[in-house]
Symmetry: C2
Subunit: 357 residues, 2 copies
């Protein structure tokens, strides 16, 4: 019967219980292997053995050490999730695009729990240096990584994926990593069609998201192509550059109105936050939505349905996006195989800001 190991000579004050599996084994009168078997459902312990072990665990308040388990099992049962916080024009705690990321992370969390995994979160500020080093540190504490958009160059993603399994949530996959995304092009197409064909609007504007976002650039391209195909006039360009935030959207409209620029009959916004700001600025200037100018968003964050008028938008299945990202990563971790690029369908959410009743 082994004794509890000697206290580690360490300059750090022991802050956690120093209880180990040896203490449980001593109290239950069995070996540490028996304790492990009972706790992990291995082997076929006698009922009496099981009872003594569970009683000792309960009385002592024993929690197995995750690091020891991870080292022994070769699996930490932790997924690392890394995302960008802020940009060069915005103080970091006001970055509203994190709403979107938070919901995706929720989906990751729920899917991870189904497999006994937990989610290790790390956000990276815009001005943070040594992003690769940071991501590597997270990788050392996890079995795989899920990287939100705008994290690393494709080369660095490929390099990272040589160290740890990586799933990206980006517009396109990088070599060596798996990718999960929504069919955003279909979403923009559906919006433009709804406005141009169903409503018959002949002028459309597009308030862009961040110019450094590949996702935004793809949306802008599809918007342009689809609008041209529908034969409508397009309002776009530098004056229509937002940054995915409500303030960015409001600033675009305020600036246009200040120069007495003409507004299009409908405005497609890069995301719901932008639409919130656009609608706010229009209302502030006495422009009726949707009677004078219709507005649409993208994402369908929970706030969208409570705006006045309720926002027509494209529902990105954010929870499913997160859950799928985890499932793809888990498949890779557990079988070595996984899909390289998974595309989730979107759904047009027609409410009232487009002009429907």
């Amino acid at each position: 019967m082994a004794q509890s190991p000697k206290p580690k000579k360490n300059s750090k004050v022991p802050s956690k219980s120093t209880l180990t599996i040896y203490d449980v084994a001593t109290q239950a009168g069995v070996s540490i292997a028996s304790v492990s078997r009972v706790l992990n459902g291995q082997g076929s312990p006698r009922a009496s053995t099981r009872e003594r072990v569970m009683q000792a665990v309960d009385e002592l308040g024993f929690v197995p050490d995750g690091a020891a388990r991870a080292l022994s099992n070769g699996l930490k049962e932790v997924v690392g999730v890394v995302f960008r916080r802020g940009d060069e024009t915005r103080f970091e705690d006001e970055d509203e695009s994190l709403l979107f990321i938070d919901v995706i992370n929720r989906g990751i969390d729920v899917a991870a729990q189904r497999r006994g995994f937990d989610v290790l979160i790390s956000s990276v500020g815009f001005s943070d240096e040594n992003m690769s080093g940071r991501i590597a540190a997270v990788a050392g504490k996890a079995d795989g990584l899920i990287l939100h958009d705008r994290m690393l160059s494709p080369n660095n993603i490929t390099r990272l994926s040589g160290m740890v399994p990586v799933v990206t949530l980006a517009g396109s996959p990088s070599r060596g990593a798996m990718n999960v995304r929504c069919d955003n092009e279909a979403g923009i197409r559906a919006l433009v069609r709804h406005l141009a064909v169903d409503h018959g609007y002949t002028t459309l504007g597009y308030v862009a998201g961040r110019s450094d976002s590949p996702d935004n650039r793809a949306r802008a391209r599809v918007f342009e192509a689809e609008a041209r195909a529908a034969g409508v006039e397009i309002f776009e360009g530098q004056d229509w550059q937002g940054d995915y935030s409500a303030a960015g959207g409001a600033n675009v409209i305020a600036a246009l109105l200040e120069k007495h620029a003409e507004l299009p009959r409908a405005i497609v916004c890069a995301n719901d936050q932008t639409a919130l700001g656009v609608m706010h600025a229009l209302a502030r200037n006495g422009v009726k939505v949707p009677e004078t100018v219709a507005v649409t968003g993208f994402d369908d964050v929970p706030v969208a349905r409570h705006l006045h008028p309720p926002l027509t938008t494209v529902r990105q299945p954010m929870l499913e996006l997160g859950a799928t990202a985890f499932d793809v990563l888990y498949s890779r971790i557990s079988t070595g195989k996984a899909d390289a690029d998974v595309v989730l369908p979107i759904q047009l959410m027609v409410r009232q800001s487009c002009g429907c009743r």
Copy 2:
């Protein structure tokens, strides 16, 4: 010169690089102790030794294993954060109170990074069983826990704090655990005073948050006491029961208006989401805000300033709340000492929904 350890006989497919510190040592032509010294800034390695080690690390793409480091150091450098997701009346992915929790978690993340810690997130669904077991599993993977409100009974918190350092974000502390909170009472007092004294409104309503939230009950009590002291008439009771969500707030107003009930001159909402729904329902029914009915929120989530009219609310320093919770926990982990109950000040954010211009 030790060889790289033999591959572990394991039924799980190895999905991570099997690189270890032994491989780096071999490539650099030094011992594993030297590699460790270089990577951890210990001892005084020669410049030439340092270079060879760093070059080998870079060429091999080596990332130290977090579980091994944690076991050896007796410190995982991970903080576990656990929060509640959903309630009995709402499907879990629509729980908007998570906005608030997400921002607090952001504060935790930023503060944790300052100390080289990462954040292990685990949400618990309302219908999840064995919450204690779940929390214990997170505890096994972290050095300490931060528990959001509504997680465990005070007894269970005390019991948990015998296993691992615990910080709660609750209205009041539990024995054995540390606590961090905002001075919500002062916030409600400031709101009531602003409406009753500065604006001279004589009737006030309070749309409550969840009835199972101790925080909400405390706010309701202070609202009542302060309003009575200001000599105004109070509208409250079962008809004014929200659930912290926009839909909950909208439902309260819609139901009142359906029964042609009289509305107070101003409505104090338990949080900003509730205020969003209240304002939406009022606007839908042609009630002007703030001309006919003023509305205030609580929390100052980013959306608040972009509503029309911009919301007067109480700013909960959510980022600071999270950061302080982490700092308190870190103090405990590193020195064994920490404050038992930390109260952060709030700030009244006067915008336009109260009637100010």
